[in-house]
Symmetry: C2
Subunit: 193 residues, 2 copies
């Protein structure tokens, strides 16, 4: 998505160790026009694959905006995995743990069984595909719920972290789509494919 | 907003101690159609007041969706206050602490000074107006930034927690708008105004 790539080149900062700061458009500030066009682009890609998507699954926090805008185009509900159990979360939950490269330590992801149903076709949407650990934790929830994971869409893929290959090696042989792919963050540059 | 009130009556649960569970439409699952109509309703209300809004300020996590959909209608950026400092947040920040009734303890709110500018007209949008503590912490950030707080919009106001009066008493004499007002959660009921 050219608009997104141009914004990342203009506003993104390479903080080293593979960490990309794009706070001005995804992780702190949101540009609703760009976010809507990202959702449209993502939705159009998966519509063309004719996947009969029933629901989008994402993870708080930065996944919410792109997931919501994609869901608005597909007219399906979103559920966002919580990382801390809120006081309102009662009843059975799906819970998975993923190691976090950027946060250090582990991240726990929780989804109430109310909002993930057997037989549904699930599209996972998140902000980043890096190592793939968070996405695979979400994917395990989908499998646990006996739902069908039909695709993964992300705003930014850091291809040099090999998450796409890790997902394939783990058996997730599904369409994976990224709006922008960053191929290298060596030195101070941000190189895009 | 009648549609929202009907959804709260149908799907909401009174968990006691003033805690409202509306996970199916705001705090865990999102209905993009409803969320878009909520954003339109909120935006239309403030458009009629002709406030020349430059930016929406909200707080992660559940404020993001209604703030984004309102911002999409007003065509202004959103900034969401972070509750944990992310690795990408560098440079000066505005920081405020608010006591949290539902979470227990204090909540820290952080906004990078990159995304809150002197002289801007700021609309705060959040999921709940209860005691008003979170909203007033956001309002203090706006003041700290020498920006102008021009209004507050929330999805649900729990009028019995008196947050609106607390804000007025604290000197925030601004338009406050709620899409739905809950007047009592005594017993097991959810009474709406």
């Amino acid at each position: 998505m050219d608009e997104l790539k141009a914004r990342i080149q203009a506003e993104g900062r390479n903080l080293g160790r593979g960490i990309l700061k794009i706070d001005s458009l995804l992780n702190h500030q949101l540009d609703p026009g760009l976010m809507r066009r990202m959702g449209q682009n993502m939705a159009n890609h998966f519509k063309e694959l004719d996947l009969q998507i029933d629901r989008i699954l994402t993870a708080e926090i930065s996944g919410i905006a792109p997931a919501l805008m994609t869901a608005a185009e597909l007219d399906v509900p979103v559920v966002y995995a919580r990382k801390k159990r809120p006081i309102t979360m009662s009843g059975p939950i799906f819970m998975e743990v993923a190691p976090s490269h950027t946060k250090g330590g582990d991240v726990t992801l929780m989804v109430s069984s109310e909002f993930l149903h057997a037989g549904e076709n699930i599209l996972i949407v998140d902000d980043f595909l890096a190592t793939g650990h968070t996405l695979m934790a979400l994917a395990r929830m989908v499998r646990d719920a006996q739902a069908n994971l039909v695709g993964v869409g992300v705003v930014v893929e850091k291809t040099f972290e090999e998450g796409r290959n890790a997902m394939l090696a783990a058996g997730y042989d599904i369409p994976i789509y990224a709006l922008a792919a960053i191929t290298s963050m060596d030195g101070e540059d941000i190189e895009m494919g």
